[in-house]
């Protein structure tokens, strides 16, 4: 019986290199003659540039060049729009405004690039930046979402009539009629706020224009090397083939590195072509807070209509979404929010208007969760509030409203970020919820332990939060699989890696088809010279889209192996099996040929070949799903709050996920743990503080608190549930963002439950010990 690889807890192929410092990151690149870049960034969030004087900077010894927007001449152009608004939604308003490589006249957020210095070292470059004299004419700053839409607000883009960036309206059924039938209508207003991704590695670019070879090589911490290569070639008037973009190992990305044509990405390659020298720019931490994107600020006015026994008749949510100073990423985030407002529930009537607003703050693009946590937060809070109002147990109100397991595919009709109707393809929300409840011992805790703890004065709360996650969206990815003459397998894909375990997960998929040990499958990712078709690593689509592309390519190789081996071994294909690196006859194991030898036979050096011949045992294939697939899960938490210090201790944490076919449980658990840590940050520790002048007041890790091992629960107990996706061969779904999505809602529920003896309502996130104290004082 052939060994199984999919579903096994295989230790990661890539870890030995990563843990011993043998992996290549962008800052490891050292090229003779390389120069270093540093940027002059705006201190003001909104100002007109009256003049920039770079002469003192240019004169500093060791400085090779200083560029401003004026120096770029006709090469100056704003970045391209990345995502257009969905064509299938009627009445969409969208004003596209994008960031520039260097600001020409008006600065629109603090941290915008005004000039770049190229010098022998970063040290000299930064000294030169300090010598650049900018004369600013400060303009009034707009940073509050609601004030930004008032008639007398300063305009972020003065060629527009207001700060409205986009407006769209999505409807399902007829909410207004549903409301009339309701026994109870509950309204609330929620404020959600910004957090950063804070990857361990900041951004960085090395660009090397080789004037003799007429070849541009770029190393970039990007999640999307292929679009970067194509866009860069276009901007510089080069053939795509002249540009090679390599996304090497990247120390975490989480979404902001998917944002493309950051000012630095537009500028550094251009500078390299101007100077014919390799140029390196590595972002420092303070720059990262301003110059790398973040998200989550929204203001929601929500209404839920229910029957008195807790059935949801309809949901309405009109919300404002902060897009920052520019909106290159289109409507992806608000669409994700809208598509998660109904959660895993059967809500027959739904109405949601979203207004995206320009503000003088850094650009907003997806961060792990990408607008989904906001949607889940809203529906879960509304259900908790409804449960309290109707005196229904919070688990009961959820179970009665879940989409039942036999109702799939379930069409929510509204349009999602991939421009397709929101169809939930598969899932079993009730089973996942009950499993989480069982794992955390919900019944026993609520009936026995909690009353006992409360009687002894402890504030301990329990929470269960179910959620869905749209994953695995198209358009497509591709891969090439090849068996080499040494019997090892090469897998090449454009899909980059930022630590998710692709080198192992993809190997397992290949091993399953070809019977080769996982360690003998070598994976190459993120190099456009190796593979140049695909989009990028984002939206929890690796296991689905890239995984299935690799599966298809590996299956193609398997077919070729069987066909050739059948000839060589004079045996029908059905009687052959691929095990341990050989092809053998199933019942006669000593009649075999190694894959390596077979691969040699497939590439003859002499003789003639038949028409239609393809050399070697190699296959390239692509996969594009018809629509995204629905992952789901449920997290549970028991936490204790100290009602004086507001510090919390997580006693237990349970995460049940349904990501369809689990390829490697070890990797899935790693993704969950990482997601939970970001979710806890989003819930209680991380908030990007802006003042009314658009200044970030906590732009350092001393003040922006990310979760450490001390804040994490001692153990994240994971449970699996598999409802295979009918949309792809492997039956897989994404899980990259799942760990982060339900946590803010879970945390709010647990805190409310713990502080049962206080009358207060949590209608915001992120919270913090300070903020919780304020809320309790006010109650």
């Amino acid at each position: 019986m052939a060994k199984k690889f999919i579903g096994e807890r295989v230790r990661r192929n890539e870890d030995a290199r990563l843990l011993t410092g043998q992996a290549l990151f962008v800052d490891d690149i050292e090229i003779p003659g390389m120069l270093h870049a540093a940027f002059k960034r705006s201190d003001y969030a909104h100002a007109r540039i009256l003049s920039i004087n770079v002469s003192a900077a240019r004169d500093l010894p060791g400085v090779h060049a200083v560029y401003t927007a004026a120096d770029m001449g006709e090469d100056w152009a704003p970045g391209p729009p990345l995502v257009s608004p969905p064509p299938s939604v009627k009445d969409v308003t969208f004003y596209s405004r994008r960031q520039a490589p260097l600001v020409k006249d008006v600065i629109r957020h603090a941290g915008e690039t005004l000039a770049v210095v190229i010098a022998e070292s970063r040290y000299i470059a930064e000294d030169a930046v300090d010598e650049i004299l900018v004369e600013y004419d400060p303009l009034p700053v707009v940073s509050d979402l609601e004030k930004a839409l008032s008639a007398d607000s300063p305009l972020v883009h003065d060629d527009l009539e207001s700060n409205l960036a986009a407006h769209l309206n999505q409807q399902k059924g007829d909410y207004e009629s549903a409301k009339k039938q309701a026994d109870v209508v509950i309204q609330r207003r929620f404020h959600l706020d910004r957090g950063a991704a804070v990857a361990m590695e900041n951004r960085g670019i090395v660009a090397h224009w080789d004037e003799k070879a007429k070849q541009l090589t770029i190393w970039d911490t990007t999640q999307a090397p292929i679009p970067i290569r194509n866009g860069t070639a276009s901007r510089l008037g080069l053939s795509e083939n002249q540009v090679r973009v390599i996304a090497p190992f990247i120390g975490g990305a989480f979404g902001p590195k998917m944002m493309m044509f950051y000012p630095e990405e537009m500028l550094i390659p251009w500078v390299s072509v101007q100077l014919c020298r390799p140029i390196k720019w590595i972002e420092d931490r303070r720059e990262n807070f301003y110059a790398t994107t973040s998200e989550r600020e929204q203001v929601h006015e929500v209404e839920i209509a229910l029957t008195k026994d807790g059935h949801i008749l309809g949901l309405k949510d009109d919300f404002l979404h902060d897009t920052g100073a520019f909106d290159p990423y289109g409507l992806t985030l608000p669409l994700n929010t809208q598509c998660h407002l109904m959660g895993p529930y059967n809500i027959p009537n739904f109405s949601s208007q979203c207004t995206a607003v320009f503000t003088n703050k850094p650009i907003v693009t997806p961060v792990r969760g990408a607008g989904r946590q906001q949607g889940i937060y809203i529906i879960e809070r509304m259900l908790d509030i409804s449960a309290a109002e109707l005196s229904i147990d919070p688990t009961v109100i959820r179970k009665m409203n879940f989409i039942p397991p036999d109702a799939f595919p379930f069409n929510n009709t509204i349009v999602d970020q991939a421009f397709t109707p929101l169809i939930l393809d598969s899932g079993n929300f009730v089973a996942v919820f009950e499993k989480a409840a069982e794992m955390i011992g919900y019944e026993k805790f609520v009936k026995e332990e909690q009353p006992r703890l409360r009687a002894s004065g402890k504030h301990v709360g329990i929470a269960l939060t179910p959620f869905i996650e749209t994953t695995g969206v198209g358009p497509y990815e591709g891969a090439r699989v090849q068996i080499e003459t040494n019997g090892k397998v090469n897998v090449v894909t454009g899909y980059g890696t930022q630590g998710q375990g692709h080198f192992t997960m993809l190997a397992q998929i290949v091993s399953e088809q070809l019977g080769v040990a996982v360690q003998n499958v070598r994976v190459v990712t993120g190099d456009t010279a190796e593979f140049h078709w695909g989009t990028g690593t984002f939206a929890s689509r690796g296991a689905v889209v890239m995984g299935n592309a690799v599966h298809a390519a590996a299956s193609g190789v398997r077919k070729k192996v069987l066909k050739l081996a059948s000839k060589v071994l004079s045996t029908p294909e059905e009687e052959l099996e691929l095990v341990d690196g050989v092809v053998r006859i199933a019942d006669v194991p000593d009649r075999s040929i190694s894959l390596g030898e077979l691969s040699g036979l497939a590439n003859p050096l002499r003789g003639a070949v038949d028409p239609g011949f393809e050399p070697g045992l190699e296959s390239t294939d692509y996969f594009g799903p018809q629509s995204g697939t629905t992952a789901s899960g449920c997290h549970g938490m028991i936490l204790e709050v100290d009602p004086e210090t507001m510090m919390v201790e997580i006693k237990r944490y349970v995460a049940v996920e349904d990501c369809g076919r689990v390829i490697n449980p070890l990797i899935v658990e790693g993704q969950i743990h990482g997601g939970v840590s970001m979710g806890l940050g989003n819930a209680y520790y991380e908030k990007l503080q802006f003042d009314e002048d658009g200044q970030i007041l906590n732009a350092s890790l001393a003040d922006y608190l990310i979760v450490t091992s001390r804040e994490m629960p001692k153990k994240v107990e994971t449970g699996h549930w598999e409802t295979l996706s009918p949309l792809n061969q492997l039956g897989s779904k994404g899980v990259g963002e799942a760990g982060a999505i339900p946590v803010p809602a879970l945390f709010a529920q647990a805190l409310q439950n713990a502080l049962f003896d206080h009358k207060f309502e949590i209608l915001e996130t992120p919270l913090s010990p300070n903020r919780l104290f304020e809320l309790l004082q006010a109650s």
């Binding site: 201190d43 300090d130 301003y290 002048d693 970030i696 007041l697 732009a699 350092s700 001393a702």
Partner: protein, 150 residues
């Protein structure tokens, strides 16, 4: 952020008022002032060196005096720019005579900071600015007393 406080000078109201209008005294008063030059009746230009936590650097800028009600009150407006960021603020100062030798002032204002000094120094700004103002007022008082003796 808001900056408020009170301070008692050992001098008459007229003496205290004159100190406030004398750039040669003011330059001594605010810690870190490297230069202060009168450019018109109510405008001074200068450079101020600051040290807030890990941030050290100088601001070049303007100090303007306005809303003067002789011996009663005035408004100080400050606008500065430097490598470490920018600062702008405005405060009202009221003068209250207690006796020939004692005058109480009350100050009430708003300061905004931006750039590096805001991102990294914001947490400390409150304490640092209070210290700077107190040190400055102490020095002004000492200068006032020296002037009375001499």
């Amino acid at each position: 952020m808001n900056i408020q406080g009170e301070y008692s000078f050992h001098g008459s109201r007229e003496e205290v008022w004159n100190i406030f209008r004398d750039p040669d005294v003011l330059i001594m008063a605010l810690p870190g002032t490297k230069s202060l030059k009168k450019i018109s009746e109510n405008e001074y230009e200068g450079e101020l060196q600051v040290h807030i936590g890990p941030i050290m650097g100088s601001f070049g800028g303007k100090l303007t005096i306005s809303n003067e009600f002789y011996l009663e009150s005035l408004t100080l407006t400050v606008e500065g720019n430097g490598k470490i960021g920018f600062v702008k603020g405005s405060g009202d100062v009221k003068f209250n005579p207690i006796s020939e030798n004692l005058t109480a002032i009350r100050y009430d204002g708003v300061i905004q900071i931006g750039g590096r000094v805001a991102s990294v120094g914001q947490r400390l700004f409150d304490t640092v600015s209070k210290n700077m103002i107190h040190q400055g007022l102490d020095k002004l008082d000492k200068a006032l007393q020296d002037r009375r003796k001499g």
